[in-house]
């Protein structure tokens, strides 16, 4: 079992932020959590981490439907930044739309597709699989 120093939740809905945060804490495996309210906010914060030379989050839970930048826009921008560390990105969404799952394949993360609401069991699976 592996400890996660920093997990990142990119989510605009405070309810889901709260739930996900609670579940992450309940696993007892996560040290600290970075919360971003949308794709753009996340991109800015992660970029700042990189430029200050600090450690990036090991796990990102990404919502798709968000204001400003949605999840796809975040993915498009983030993949342009060269990152040496291994980061696991999970799409955490209420959409079970086939088109979205298809689209996730383009980012090679279609297996990392979790339909909301997330459960504690599911979250543990995610962390243990690392």
């Amino acid at each position: 079992m592996k400890k996660i120093n920093l997990a990142c939740i990119i989510e605009d809905d405070p309810t889901h932020v709260y739930i996900t945060k609670r579940f992450l804490n309940l696993t007892g495996l996560v040290e600290s959590i970075l919360i971003c309210s949308n794709g753009k906010d996340a991109f800015t914060k992660l970029k700042a981490i990189i430029s200050s030379g600090e450690k990036l989050p090991e796990l990102i839970l990404l919502d798709l439907n968000m204001p400003v930048w949605d999840g796809w826009q975040f993915l498009d921008a983030f993949k342009e930044i060269p990152v040496e560390d291994k980061i696991d990105i999970y799409i955490l969404t209420s959409s079970n739309n086939e088109a979205d799952i298809e689209r996730a394949k383009n980012y090679n993360i279609d297996s990392n597709y979790i339909v909301k609401p997330i459960t504690l069991e599911k979250l543990k699976d995610v962390i243990f699989s690392e």
């Binding site: 809905d13 739930i19 439907n65 909301k116």
Partner: protein, 623 residues
């Protein structure tokens, strides 16, 4: 004897000039032969000139003409000569063919008279030649013409009770050349009925009133073949009475037959043209009307006379006037024979009429355009319907898209929120378990659970309608049914229901296996849920092939459905009609949607407290 005749006769004896004049001007040759020395024969100059020879170079020998006379004619002449020598009452009179020096045939009528001595022995013979080449050639020509035109001669004499037929006449009647026609029976060659009545009347009128005739009648040949002939007859008056009728008969069968055919097809065309359900018009190279039928007039609201005065320019929408100019040009050039085009015409009332215009051409034997045949159909209604239909399709498409989008958003957003609520409740239960003793919180939890289930159903429905049916495959049914029965056996046993799969082992249906499984599961579950507790329950599953469908029927003896009351809401979303605690009413709705997505349909018969049969129609082959 007349004194002039007497004087001429004596002058002839004394004055050789008179003889020479007669010889030169009235005859084409004189010959005089010595029958005691037959090789000696004198011919005058004219004799040789007619045959193209120089008289000075021709000796007075009979051998001189033996090589230039037709040998058959010579034979006939010799026979006639011998007869005449035997019997002076038989005249010597022959038509002889000589070969002119330049090669052509010269026809000569040769007459001769033997001069006899006291013992009545023929010792000399005097003869004359008359050239009849032109006459003969004309005769020959006429004969050839008649033969070519299949014209035969006939000649009947009432007085002698005889009728003569020429060879061609015999050929026309199909009889042999040695056939002897007879006056009474020859009329029987005419076809019974109008032809025989007519010829009898014509001959009667010719004989009684001297009326010549010329008519086309039908005969029956000796072989029984019907034949059209043209018969011409001329009566001849002999001593106050018309006792002789002669004339021609011509075989016009082929001509007449094609005339009749032409007439029939003309009649058919005219009938077609005048009574056509579509508008028809004939027009010429300059687009001038030749003929317009009533329907054409009706389509445009004009009378025939009114429309005749108008031109294509008057009735055609200006933009459509020349849309077929290229096609017309190509027809005139012979590159095509027909075309079709849609045009707009003006109705007499001013409104536009949409016309489907088809044109074909009729050409003469030189392939030049005689006239055009046009056909028009009023397609205004069709066009309008087409437009309306397109509009409806576009609206429907639009609404369908919006509906899909709406359903998607609803299911998506609701899922997010209801997921949040249930997760929060779960966390709350961990944090504050004592709160869940409160009935309101309990009810909140139930509501949250129901909400989530509803949303799951909703997204399932949305998913079905979004699936395309391109990826249907053949699915073996019997196995799937057995599998579903097996998975439900514990509940079935609990409910005391016996499930039998009687479907044919090898049947396959077109479908998506998840749907087919879900459909079958739903019907079996339904039968279990709604089985009657008052009797031993059963569910029989049967299969049947019918046209493009394989029908799977689920027959139970359960509590049944009051179809009179519930028919309309049976397959509706969230319609329940049982007070069964599990009844959620979504199952049949989803099932029906799935079946329809697979191109099938569903039928139900039911009787309250007796049982229900659901028939599911699956397609089993593409298209």
């Amino acid at each position: 004897m007349n004194y002039l005749q007497e004087e001429l006769y004596s002058s002839l004896k004394t004055n050789p000039k008179i003889f020479e004049f007669i010889e030169k001007n009235s005859l084409d040759g004189i010959w005089y032969s010595d029958l005691e020395n037959p090789e000696n024969e004198w011919m005058d100059d004219r004799f040789w000139e007619i045959l193209g020879y120089d008289p000075q170079k021709m000796p007075s020998k009979s051998s001189t003409w033996r090589d230039i006379i037709n040998q058959d004619d010579l034979k006939a002449a010799l026979t006639n000569f011998n007869q005449h020598i035997e019997d002076p009452n038989i005249p010597y009179d022959q038509v002889l063919r000589f070969t002119h020096k330049k090669g052509r045939t010269v026809w000569i009528r040769s007459k001769g008279m033997a001069i006899r001595n006291e013992e009545n022995k023929a010792i000399r013979m005097v003869g004359s030649h008359l050239e009849i080449t032109e006459l003969k050639e004309n005769e020959e020509f006429l004969h050839r013409c008649n033969q070519e035109a299949n014209i035969g001669f006939w000649d009947m004499s009432v007085e002698n009770k005889t009728i003569k037929w020429s060879n061609t006449t015999k050929a026309i009647h199909g009889v042999d050349l040695d056939f002897k026609p007879c006056l009474e029976t020859s009329i029987n060659f005419y076809k019974e009925g109008s032809s025989r009545t007519k010829i009898t009347e014509l001959v009667f009128r010719a004989l009684n009133f001297g009326e010549p005739f010329n008519d086309e009648l039908q005969i029956v040949t000796i072989q029984g073949e019907y034949k059209w002939v043209k018969v011409i007859g001329f009566p001849e008056k002999i001593k106050d009475n018309y006792n002789r009728v002669y004339g021609t008969i011509q075989d016009i069968n082929d001509l007449k037959k094609s005339q009749i055919k032409l007439k029939q097809s003309e009649q058919a065309f005219r009938g077609n043209f005048e009574n056509a359900a579509i508008g028809m018009a004939l027009f010429d190279n300059d687009k001038k009307w030749i003929k317009i039928n009533q329907t054409f007039c009706d389509i445009l609201g004009y009378t025939h006379d009114e429309l005749s005065l108008l031109s294509f320019e008057d009735i055609t929408h200006p933009e459509d006037l020349h849309t077929d100019a290229a096609e017309i040009e190509e027809i005139i050039d012979g590159a095509r024979d027909h075309y079709k085009v849609d045009k707009r015409y003006f109705h007499k009332n001013g409104h536009l009429v949409n016309i489907h215009f088809a044109v074909s051409v009729v050409r003469d034997t030189d392939n030049e355009v005689l006239y055009f045949i046009s056909q028009i159909i009023d397609i205004t209604l069709l066009k309008e319907q087409e437009k309306a239909l397109k509009r409806i399709i576009s609206i429907t498409q639009d609404q369908n898209d919006r509906l899909k989008n709406f359903a998607h958003i609803v299911s998506h957003n609701l899922r997010s929120h209801s997921g949040g609520i249930s997760a929060l409740l779960q966390l709350l239960r961990d944090d504050e378990p004592e709160l869940f003793e409160n009935e309101m919180i309990q009810l909140l939890e139930t509501s949250s659970f129901n909400l989530q289930e509803t949303i799951n159903h909703l997204s399932e429905v949305v998913k079905i309608n979004l699936s395309s049916n391109d990826n249907l495959t053949l699915i073996p049914l019997s196995n799937i049914i057995n599998k579903q029965i097996a998975s439900l056996t514990p509940i079935a046993e609990k409910n005391n229901i016996k499930i039998t799969n009687n479907t044919e082992e090898n049947i396959k249906v077109l479908g998506i296996s998840a749907y087919v499984e879900s459909i079958i599961l739903n019907f079996i579950t339904n039968a279990i849920k709604y089985s009657s507790s008052e009797r031993d329950s059963f569910l029989n599953i049967n299969s049947e092939k019918k046209g493009p469908y394989i029908i799977i029927s689920f027959t139970d003896n359960g509590i049944g459905i009051d179809l009179d009351l519930n028919k309309n809401k049976l397959f509706g979303m969230y319609k329940t009609f049982h007070d069964n605690e599990d009844a959620r009413g979504i199952g049949l709705f989803i099932t029906k949607n799935q079946i329809e997505t697979l191109g099938g349909k569903i039928e139900v018969t039911s009787e309250l407290n007796k049982g229900t049969t659901f028939k599911v129609f699956f397609k089993h082959e593409k298209n």
